[in-house]
Subunit: 120 residues, 2 copies
DNA sequence: TGTATCCATTGACAGTCGTCGATGGAACGC
DNA sequence: GCGTTCCATCGACGACTGTCAATGGATACA
């Protein structure tokens, strides 16, 4: 080991005698980590990113039939993606006659809002 | 249909004659949507959220052996999660002797940085 | 040189996810 | 009422994901 490397090691791992391991902060509460992971998992699909992009640039609620026309996917698949986004708190929906409309959830959580803000 | 509902429909779906569908903006470039989805997919696991939390609060690079001690998971699983975060651009690693250290990637993309900033 | 430690990789397995076709309920127009 | 349209749900299937045990390479130290 060179002198430089030795100095680097001292800076990186001071007081790590037998091996290098030292205790690490316990981290986030499990519930918090689970919530954040679920939030990001809902964003882990290109179709759902596109849906949120459409909703974040739309001035009005968007009809499901508009989504099915915009994507090369079956209607059940679109419905599934919309339900995923709704379950994660990103969007809300309402029915109007035979149509269902979706829009961004105005009560979205702060991390969710930050994530949607990056979809540009 | 009540008069109020009729007015609401006119506001929501003007000029939607045969059905309600109207063209929707084509959306993000596919590559952009894919990149954002991959980024969020890498955050879609509580263990990886915890890892990023530890790294974002650590003042020094953190040794893999510290992660294996902090989680109730096997060493290959920790290694897998760290590789996932590295492939997604969240962290970088270097070896020092027999130890491997990880830290937040200083060249992280802007959406990635925003997401990590929400892990608190 | 030999041994021990650390960590990445491989192979395997159960569970989850994205997608589709089929079905059924709800609302509209005739 | 009756047929039509829209959309959520169900069942199924292939692909991917998280986890582990086993393996092997690289490094340090006696």
């Amino acid at each position: 080991m060179t002198a430089a490397a030795s100095a680097a090691r001292a800076a990186l791992a001071p007081a790590r005698i037998k091996g290098c391991c030292q205790p690490v902060a316990p981290g986030l509460p499990d519930a918090r980590a689970d919530n954040l992971a679920a939030l990001h998992k809902a964003l882990g699909d290109p179709t759902r990113i596109q849906i949120l992009h459409i909703l974040s640039t739309a001035s009005e609620p968007v009809c499901v039939c508009d989504f099915t026309a915009a994507f090369d996917l079956g209607q059940p698949t679109i419905s599934h993606h919309l339900a995923t986004l709704r379950d994660a708190g990103f969007v809300t929906s309402f029915k109007f006659g035979i149509w269902a409309f979706y829009r961004l959830n105005p009560a979205m959580s702060e991390p969710a809002r930050a994530a949607v803000g990056q979809i540009r």
